[in-house]
Assembly symmetry: C2
Homo-oligomer: 294 residues x 2
């Protein structure tokens, strides 16, 4: 993070209908299974090219699980391969699946994301993510298997606190009963993370806070002084880096600015080579964020 | 549903360390990929045996996505194969992943669950579920891609309203600002489902309401008169069928009682053959539920 002088997270939400041309190859097969496999392989090539182009300006990739799992088993294979490519390039892997379920099932998600699963033939390895996003609606007993598995694995669990979509206000901002629900979620994140502080003083339990609503950021940072904040919504969703300073107040590594389409689809706005455009967009965001965080 | 005289959903949360003996075969390989593949194949055999045993008393299976995806790509393959087995046995398939994300990503989840994904080689088919669970914390704009995809596919979108774990009270029951948050979620379900009513008068937008908190069920049913309610928490979590009558007030098909461990692990309590125990437990639950719903 500090070595890379970057707080930028490269979001990979691969859309098979909008892959970089370099990812495409060969004629279309007729068999549905082959179509899925070939599509998933093209997704990996697209992600590899995006990582090679934009990765040097970034500290992590954020893999949007929905975009992989819509390709079925080959998609899940592509997810694992993309994570390997990211690691080869020295990037951390954030699995963005926003999982959340009752405790027994939360344990299974933890196994999938940062653990192993015991079975009759030996352990099956999960994705090995460095961090993952989680949905806190089910409460602390449902989050606990995720946060403790993250702590054991040396990984981060990033809970949704205030998402960046317009409709988030309907629930996350409702007074509950006096202060907004997202403040209650922030307190939950802080409580769950108190016992798992790293050398930097930051906790393994973090939060997702939309960058498009900067007015609540300072208050949420006060409620979660030890949390790493994953900040989506810069770029395509209208947020700006300049408003994010409170995220970095505890530590330069306490905020992660994640951008997906504004990097990977930069060539659609600017024209030109996808890789060169992505590299430039990522570097621009890196420098702007580093300046705010420093 | 009515032909089968059953409202029972067979929950499949396969734990590779606790599969039925009939599912196991062969020695353990050394290669991690082979271990994952062999484990996933054993999971499918386990699920097939459970479906053959308990399926005749049930109307649907509920596949716990976490338990499959912890086995990686082979696990996702096992998920698809288990869904096929359920369909072969005339059962509906409920994909229980509790997904929820910002609108663009929610569309990708909809593709994974009930749609197809366009790509360079042709469409890739998703899981083809008959219904799926969804997490509503991100609000109505994030749910809309899921509910409309469900309506288009003739499938159901079942939103979490009141889950059955103890910690759910911390958030779902907080006054927001006057009435509990779960009532607000229930209103959201009702609004989102108004335009997608089937022949039975029931909507394609339903809700997950824990059966272990029957005191709120009648009130929630009033708020969601057209919703199909998926009712977890009977059996292992302490709920009883007798308290579920309000779920069925609009229609015998308006409530689905889902039980996982109390069916599949019945032999651990009673001793004896797993299949015979599962069949008996499912039939007992079917008869008890049918009596309450009729």
């Amino acid at each position: 993070m500090v070595e890379r002088r970057s707080q930028v997270v490269l979001g990979l939400d691969p859309d098979p209908a909008a892959l970089w041309p370099v990812a495409l190859s060969g004629p279309a097969p007729a068999d549905p299974t082959e179509i899925a496999e070939l599509t998933a392989a093209a997704v990996v090539r697209h992600c590899r090219a995006a990582i090679e182009a934009a990765g040097p300006a970034c500290v992590a990739v954020k893999l949007q699980l929905a975009c992989y799992e819509r390709l079925g088993a080959p998609g899940w294979q592509a997810l694992a391969e993309t994570a390997d490519v990211a690691r080869e390039h020295g990037l951390l892997v954030i699995a963005d699946g926003k999982r959340g379920d009752v405790p027994v099932t939360a344990r299974a998600y933890a196994q999938a994301l940062v653990g192993t699963t015991a079975g009759p033939y030996g352990p099956v390895w999960g994705l090995g993510a460095d961090a993952f996003t989680a949905n806190p609606l089910l409460g602390s007993d449902a989050l606990e298997p995720l946060t403790s598995a993250a702590a054991v694995a040396g990984a981060g669990c990033l809970c949704l606190v205030r998402t960046s979509n317009p409709g988030a206000a309907e629930l996350q901002d409702v007074p509950a009963p006096e202060r907004p629900l997202h403040e209650r979620l922030a307190r939950l994140v802080d409580e769950l993370g108190r016992d798992s502080l790293g050398a930097s003083g930051l906790s393994s339990v973090g939060a997702v806070v939309g960058a498009a609503q900067p007015e609540s950021l300072a208050g949420l940072r006060e409620l979660m002084p030890r949390a790493i904040l994953l900040l989506p919504g810069v770029g395509a969703q209208g947020g700006t880096v300049a408003t994010l300073r409170p995220a970095f107040s505890p530590h330069p590594a306490a905020g992660l600015v994640t951008a997906s389409r504004s990097i990977v689809d930069a060539h659609r706005r600017s024209g030109g080579d996808p890789a060169a455009s992505a590299r430039a967009a990522a570097e621009e965001l890196r420098a702007a964020t580093w300046a705010v965080a420093g």
